[in-house]
Symmetry: none
């Protein structure tokens, strides 16, 4: 983890501009014994040049052998040890939906579902209703009243929404109400086993059950979205903020809500985006506000999506698309440009994986050129950065940008 105490002491609000370009699930595996990975297969003259001139290495997102989720993997890239800052999914979803939480709040993810006359779930996603229908259903649920609680309900996308409960004496240690299978009845909210006798947890579970009961009444006319399941109950993680710890004015350029959520939780401004933004669109949105920030986190989603779908060539194509657009970013003349992933998603596995992630740091004033000649998993194994914990990348970024004072005389 970035040493926050040290960062607070050494970080300066002057120095170079940093761009952190994250291709989600960048790392891959060869399909055949003598084969190449997705990144090695891709034709990437721009990344190859940056890797050749700068420093490369492999980052370990969580811990050796551990397959990361996207939330923890991004926390690591931002300098937070994901084993220390165990941010609940509800908090990410709420933040991604644009809701601001306080440490005493309880947030959760909600799914619209379809429930039959017999009280059993027939569709856990309510036929993936259109986002506008989800918005109307959320609007209707705003009539729900819970004693002593200020409630916010916000549509995320299709059947997904987020809620935040604000009030005295709440506790997020509540089990999911989603039975996870159709044909089963929804589960009543109840505290985690270790909080079974905790008055705040019992009180919160009671409030959640009131919420679900009122929602069921209200949603009668919204078939197939006639019921809600809630999961991922979480408190606000009270993460130290980029400005306070690193003295960075930081902005997030991401298209998907979850990545906006984790960025908002660390205090970044969230730049305007559109679901159809290409990598080039994202880079141009960054260019538009280039003078306003010291640090830009740019997230590319589709490397991961194609990997998850097992589509090797399509993942290669996304990497090539990013590379072709990269000059738009390099032309902004960042002092430090980092290209990496949050974790690996080899098409071979159709899944996230534990493999360390190719990383390059290009910072003409300060980088140490290594002997690497291109950007790829095997090249990065011999690079100047070695293998390093992903949650120390931010220190390297600040160091390369000349934004840290000397430690000691």
């Amino acid at each position: 983890m970035a040493n926050f105490e040290l960062m607070r002491r050494l970080a300066k609000d002057t120095g170079g501009k940093i761009v952190l370009l994250v291709m989600d699930g960048l790392g891959g595996l060869p399909l055949e014994v003598n084969g190449q990975t997705e990144l090695e297969t891709a034709t990437t003259p721009n990344m190859d040049r940056l890797a050749r001139e700068g420093s490369t290495g492999l980052s370990i997102p969580i811990s050796r052998g551990i397959e990361p989720g996207s939330g923890p993997a991004h926390l690591a890239l931002f300098g937070y040890d994901p084993l220390v800052y165990d941010v609940g999914r509800g908090a990410l979803e709420a933040a991604g939906a644009g809701l601001h939480t306080q440490p005493s709040d309880v947030a959760a993810r909600g799914n619209f579902a379809t429930i039959g006359e017999d009280g059993r779930i027939t569709d856990r996603r309510a036929g993936r209703i259109a986002t506008e229908k989800g918005e109307a259903a959320c609007e209707a649920m705003s009539a729900i009243k819970l004693p002593g609680v200020e409630l916010t309900v916000r549509e995320v996308k299709e059947h997904r929404f987020a809620i935040v409960m604000r009030g005295e004496g709440l506790d997020h240690r509540i089990l999911d109400t989603d039975p996870l299978e159709v044909g089963l009845a929804p589960l009543p909210a109840k505290p985690w086993p270790e909080a079974a006798d905790d008055p705040a947890a019992l009180h919160t579970a009671d409030l959640v059950n009131q919420f679900i009961a009122q929602a069921k009444d209200i949603l009668k006319g919204h078939h197939p979205a006639n019921f809600v399941n809630l999961r991922g109950f979480a408190g606000d993680p009270a993460l130290p903020k980029f400005k306070e710890v690193y003295k960075l004015n930081a902005a997030c350029m991401a298209v998907y809500p979850m990545y906006k959520g984790v960025s908002r939780l660390v205090g970044m401004d969230i730049l305007e985006s559109d679901a159809h933004d290409t990598p080039l669109d994202e880079f141009q949105r960054v260019a538009d506000v280039w003078d306003k920030y010291d640090f830009f986190f740019i997230h590319i989603k589709y490397t991961d999506s194609r990997g998850e779908d097992g589509l090797f060539n399509e993942k290669v194509a996304v990497i090539e698309q990013v590379d072709a657009s990269l000059p738009a970013l390099v032309d902004l003349a960042p002092d430090v440009l980092i290209v990496t992933g949050d974790h690996s998603t080899p098409a071979k596995l159709s899944s996230h994986s534990f493999h360390p992630v190719p990383t390059l740091i290009w910072a003409p004033a300060t980088h140490m050129r290594d002997r690497v000649t291109g950007f790829g998993e095997r090249e990065c194994m011999t690079g100047a950065l070695g293998q390093f914990p992903a949650d120390e990348l931010i220190q390297l970024a600040l160091g390369h940008a000349g934004r840290l004072a000397r430690y000691g005389a």
Copy 2:
């Protein structure tokens, strides 16, 4: 950090002799994209042979991305995590001046200054008076009496001196009295904000102000050294000692006071030296007492000085001078010879930097030869030692010397 508990349990007072040769600020950067670093440019047949035969790697002095000061960087080389052992500059200066401190003492750095009739500082360094004049002024100040305090004042060099106050109820949390600019009045000593109401800190501040007032009286005839500023107030850091933790009789061969200071604080004997000693002189001084010690720390200052001055070729020349003298050290047949730096000082940056430091361990009985063919930054990236925290180097040294018992059966 070296695991002190483990070292106390496993270290043996028998085994091989260790030499730790530190070229201050050794690591560098190329001046041009395709260029070589200072160490790579230097013709170093002797170091190249040691690197070829032995193990190489890169050491990280403090933490990734952090630019180290010399004090913390040396503590790391000696096995102390500099983030845990935050040794104040006053304690280093006093130790460097040959003063022994106890944990309840308060030490500080002093500067002779020139003060005008109007009570404002006109020269913060009193015209860099000759060391003999500083000695005379320190001698005069030995007449200062502080109630309940045993006071020691010792000249360091030119306008610099050190003081140690010994007594009951002292506290080192005192702000610097140096206004840092000419034309300003000196600052009265007062406690750190967080110790503003602490009786010991208030008492100590009062004593410091008495010291300064008496010094001003005494120094009237010593123009331009007619005043003193004090800074870097620090307690004795109570570092575990080499003999106790590592079972090493250790000696320090350094020319500059600060390096003698940090060595004294870890319990090394300080070998006689002269300000004009060359690397060869230093090696010969080690040869003179070769049989008396198990461990020699040898410090070469000028690699850092030339780097700080931005003099690439001159830094190269210092490295070559050390290399040419190296046979005198190798001929002593140490069991373990380590060549490294405390941090990087690239001439390109004219400053210390965060870059990891080339390191070689040559220990014919135990070293693992890697595929490295010479001593340089890029070579060391692929060496047997990998990248490692500098404060674990001492464990590697002891291990290579056969001075650690097996852990467990």
